[in-house]
Symmetry: C2
Subunit: 264 residues, 2 copies
């Protein structure tokens, strides 16, 4: 799918054509660049920014950074190849281009950290998808699993189906299968049972924005698995690049953003 | 679907063509009666009994009672219209015929008990299906909901989709819709979120056999919702007819009967 405008970018985020925190962020950043191509005025960029902000909360950080990047230049100069203050069209595109590798580099942090925890034959439960399909490259929750597998450590992944959008069954299982990692798709309901039966050694999952007090807001169903992990003494890790911590809000301020059962 | 033999009955239970504890029990009981029609010998009835026992644990009580009913009569007399000792073909058929009304009567116990707890405008979360489709008549978990709705008490039911077989989405929603009870189908993952948001007043659900120490073994996913209910102080009720308590085992003896993620 080719995204040609800020509207296209907003639609892709809102309709979950792109999903996964890092990929959503990259799409929002490029949305601002696409808006500038059509109209470089402050008003037009603010409109695009607000539109992208209204798609999903995950889009906000990158849309904001991308919008801020245009600010130093006069609107008339934003189409120029180069300006001393930055904010040219070229600057913004470069910023957007740089964002994915920047996030890729960050996304390897959880890979290295998580890799150290994966030492013996392990059964790992994961939920939703936080692999390279979600993260432009590598992934967050899946990255240490790939590194451990590549290092010859025997492991098996219980893949939560992740209703209602089936990101586990359709994306995570697709990724793991392509990488040759042993895995089994299970109904979301089954994770607690496997923990009780001693067949889950750790839970490893990605994240949506994490908050300054340490709370995480994540894919629907995370809470239920966290309760079961606690009840059974199973370690529960959240893998995230540090760049996604939102220092502006504490967890308790998170809006209950998605009330409709079909919009999770 | 017409079940013509014990094999048909066993297949219907095993393939989940019939489901729900009371309906499974009735099908198992009739399975013995169908076996007797073909071959009234002890060996044949024992074979049918063992086959029905091997379908699902839920079938065991009724298959056992039905098999025991044939024991007093000589095999040669089991085809007779009547014997003094019982155990005739007629006795067995009558016993099977009587079983559903007996269970219907019992199934109204939870209806009356549960009805008393439903007094104000309530949001009720339910899982799987334990209505009349599962129970020959009335139902267990749904029965008090029907009675409260008929009494004019305003209520709304969150219907867990109940993966992987979708008994909530396809059966419970079908029943509630036919009865005019307001309801919303939700992903199984969403129940904890609604409890956290204060939108669930009580959890009400059916049961598989309950054990003498009070433990219940129920549809996959029950444990996760029970943990969330506890974490949020939401009352969690199990509705069951007293006839389904299995006094022969304590909860800790329950075999982990269904390891395969596709067989729940």
């Amino acid at each position: 799918l080719r995204l040609k405008s800020a509207d296209d970018a907003a639609h892709a985020i809102k309709a979950m054509i792109v999903r996964g925190a890092p990929l959503i962020g990259a799409t929002a950043a490029y949305g601002i660049a696409l808006a500038m191509r059509e109209d470089a005025s402050d008003a037009a960029l603010d409109r695009a920014h607000d539109m992208l902000l209204a798609t999903r909360p995950t889009a906000s950080i990158c849309a904001g950074r991308s919008r801020a990047c245009a600010t130093p230049a006069q609107p008339s100069a934003r189409g120029a190849r180069e300006t001393r203050l930055g904010g040219s069209r070229g600057d913004l595109r470069r910023r957007c281009r740089d964002l994915p590798p920047h996030r890729r580099a960050r996304a390897r942090d959880p890979a290295r950290g998580g890799r150290k925890r994966i030492r013996a034959k392990l059964n790992i439960l994961t939920h939703c998808n936080a692999g390279w399909l979600a993260c432009v490259d590598w992934g967050t929750a899946l990255a240490p699993i790939y590194m451990a597998h590549d290092a010859g450590i025997p492991l098996h992944v219980w893949v939560d189906e992740t209703r209602p959008r089936n990101q586990g069954a359709s994306l995570t299982a697709f990724e793991l299968g392509g990488h040759g990692v042993p895995h089994t798709i299970i109904a979301d309901n089954a994770g607690g049972h496997y923990m009780q039966a001693g067949e889950v050694d750790l839970v490893h999952r990605g994240h949506r924005p994490r908050h300054r007090n340490g709370d995480v807001a994540n894919k629907i169903g995370t809470y239920l698995k966290a309760l079961a992990a606690k009840d059974n003494g199973v370690p529960f890790y959240v893998a995230l690049p540090s760049s996604t911590i939102d220092w502006t809000i504490a967890g308790r301020d998170i809006p209950i953003e998605e009330r409709s059962p079909t919009s999770f």
